[in-house]
């Protein structure tokens, strides 16, 4: 799976209240959640971001609450992948469960906003401005889940087998 897009840069500790403020959590439809993505620090983000763009962030991306609304909001804007130095653990599980790919790599200092970046999710190879950066591999168990089409499809299959 290869994604190519332009970079949006965010710093360290981008928490779930930034990704989607709690006052919108009564909503479950992706479109509404996407409209308010990153609103507290970048009110126009949802208007400016383009389908296929990629988020590059610092450490501990997605810290805070367990709200699955956070990966839903990011995916709703057409962002297929987030590259960060590290991710908070609940967000990590949620993103994969919701089909948002997360890549652990340090390209923060290399990338500037708007740069074109290319990422091969399966091999973990990132290309930016002539540099090639190797990402931390996605854990084998997560890869199995991705290949099964996410946790819900995995569960569906399991239930059908039972029948």
């Amino acid at each position: 799976m290869i994604y190519k897009g332009n970079v949006w840069k965010f710093g360290d500790n981008i928490d779930t209240d930034i990704i989607i403020p709690a006052r919108y959590l009564a909503h479950t439809d992706p479109k509404t959640l996407g409209e308010h993505c990153m609103e507290p620090i970048s009110p126009d983000f949802s208007k400016k971001v383009k389908k296929g763009d990629i988020i590059v962030a610092g450490a501990n991306f997605g810290c805070g609450s367990s709200r699955e609304h956070a990966p839903i909001a990011i995916s709703a804007l057409g962002i297929p992948v987030v590259i960060a130095k590290s991710f908070a653990r609940i967000f990590y599980r949620n993103a994969f469960n919701k089909g948002l790919a997360l890549i652990e790599a340090d390209v923060y200092d290399l990338a500037e906003e708007g740069d074109e970046i290319e990422i091969d999710v399966f091999s973990g190879t990132i290309k930016i401005k002539g540099n090639t950066v190797k990402a931390k591999p996605i854990p084998p168990f997560m890869m199995e889940l991705i290949e099964a089409g996410g946790l819900i499809n995995y569960l569906k299959k399991k239930l059908e087998e039972k029948k």
């Binding site: 209240d17 479950t28 367990s66 699955e68 839903i72 949620n94 819900i152 569960l155 569906k156």
Partner: protein, 420 residues
């Protein structure tokens, strides 16, 4: 080779005699929890998988505590959906009306969670139950759906970090100050993916309410869970409440830790976390002339009886500063009732406080105390992220109940000695 309490509970629930950090296991869960903002997504997924029912109607718990009493139509619709699901599937532990409290205060109090359990909740502060010697962690709605249907979930066994606490506690200092001190020291990702295990002579003198505060904020250091060993205090708390038999696990002497951090609690004073991270921790004495508009004393972190008692002792015979809104939120109906019996509510009302029904409300900027642009609050809650309690240009300072109550009187962040 020995195991930690976290490893032992996970081994026990995955039918193994031994597990080690990094292993992926499939574990049985004792309790699966969701609330009014996370359950709707879980129920959508539940529909998608076409499951017929939940794995056990006595082990799936719904607590509608975040935007309740319903703040708007969409919140009301969400609660209706969960209510109908609960009726259909005869969910035993459904809390919405006069029996409803803040989930992480309610479940231990009602004996729904017991020592040795594996508990997962679609709420990051599910880690609170580690105070009872259970393994408890937050997950998202989809993982919760999986566990609701199967009674199992996968885990990566975490490494453990031991916090060995010794020394005598200073006056006023509680579990909140300890956990803020620790987060200030190790940072908001200082325990990323790890289990935080709290041990030592200073922990044995800590009340159950304070232990729950400490375990509650383990997530604020990025941890998977926070956990305490079971002692006489745990037993006396749980014995009248437990709805199920429980099992006590204890770390082996030769258990392996990623790190052991020793903490002399006698050196910890009253702490405040400044905007906009729970790790921006300073001593309260270091904050001069920080004027406030609002005080919130409540939440899954500090809305228990001990917290309200501390606040009442400070507010007794005093008045809240005229320009400050001081909102008191007893975390459960039992805490509320006991606060009336003990005269705390009378003290709060005499002081000019607002008494709220149990709700998470203002902690996450939902309702019942949202901040305007430029406003500043001090709260006994758990997060002070940008815009957490309302407008992106509002500010939240985090503290324990003693500092929050004293600040309400002064109209600025204050030490209890300034008002007593």
């Amino acid at each position: 080779m020995g195991m930690t309490i976290t490893e032992k509970i996970l081994a026990d629930h995955s039918g193994r005699s031994f597990v080690e950090p990094g292993e992926i296991i499939d574990a049985r869960v004792d309790i699966v929890l969701a609330n009014d903002i996370t359950a709707p997504l879980s129920l959508e997924e539940f529909e998608k998988v076409g499951a017929k029912g939940v794995f056990d109607n006595e082990r799936v718990v719904f607590v509608l505590d975040h935007f309740t009493p319903n703040k708007d139509v969409i919140s009301a619709e969400n609660c209706k959906k969960i209510r109908e699901f609960s009726k259909k599937h005869q969910i035993k532990h459904f809390y919405e009306g006069g029996n409803c409290g803040i989930e992480h205060a309610l479940l231990p109090e009602q004996g729904i969670v017991v020592p040795g359990d594996v508990v997962i909740g679609a709420d990051s502060h599910t880690c609170t139950y580690g105070a009872l010697g259970a393994f408890a962690t937050g997950m998202g709605s989809t993982d919760i759906t999986y566990a609701m249907v199967t009674g199992n979930i996968w885990f990566k066994v975490p490494e453990s970090i031991k916090f060995l606490c010794y020394g005598k506690w200073q006056k006023w200092v509680t579990g909140k100050d300890l956990i803020l001190h620790i987060i200030g020291m190790i940072g908001v990702d200082g325990a990323l993916y790890a289990a935080m295990e709290f041990d030592g002579e200073a922990i044995s003198t800590l009340s159950m309410d304070s232990r729950m505060t400490v375990a509650n904020m383990a997530i604020e250091a990025g941890a998977k869970n926070g956990i305490f060993k079971v002692d006489e205090k745990t037993i006396s708390y749980i014995k009248e409440r437990a709805k199920r038999p429980y099992k006590i696990f204890e770390s082996d002497k030769d258990a392996r830790y990623k790190q052991t951090i020793e903490i002399d609690v006698s050196k910890i004073g009253l702490k405040v976390a400044c905007p906009h991270l729970p790790s921006n921790v300073v001593d309260v004495e270091g904050l001069k002339d920080i004027e406030i508009d609002q005080v919130v004393i409540g939440s899954c972190t500090n809305g228990r009886l001990e917290d309200l008692e501390t606040a009442a002792n400070i507010l007794k015979g005093k008045k809240v500063a005229s320009w400050v809104r001081c909102i008191i939120i007893p975390a459960t109906p039992e805490i509320y009732r006991e606060s009336i019996k003990r005269g705390f509510i009378e003290i709060f009302m005499e002081a000019g406080c607002i008494i709220s029904p149990p709700t998470c409300g203002p902690c996450l900027g939902g309702h019942m105390g949202v901040l305007a642009k430029g406003e500043r609050a001090i709260a006994t809650t758990n997060r002070n992220f940008i815009g957490r309690m309302g407008h992106p240009e509002s500010e939240v300072y985090l503290s324990g109940p003693a500092v929050a109550a004293s600040s309400a009187i002064k109209g600025r962040i204050a030490h209890p000695e300034e008002v007593l």
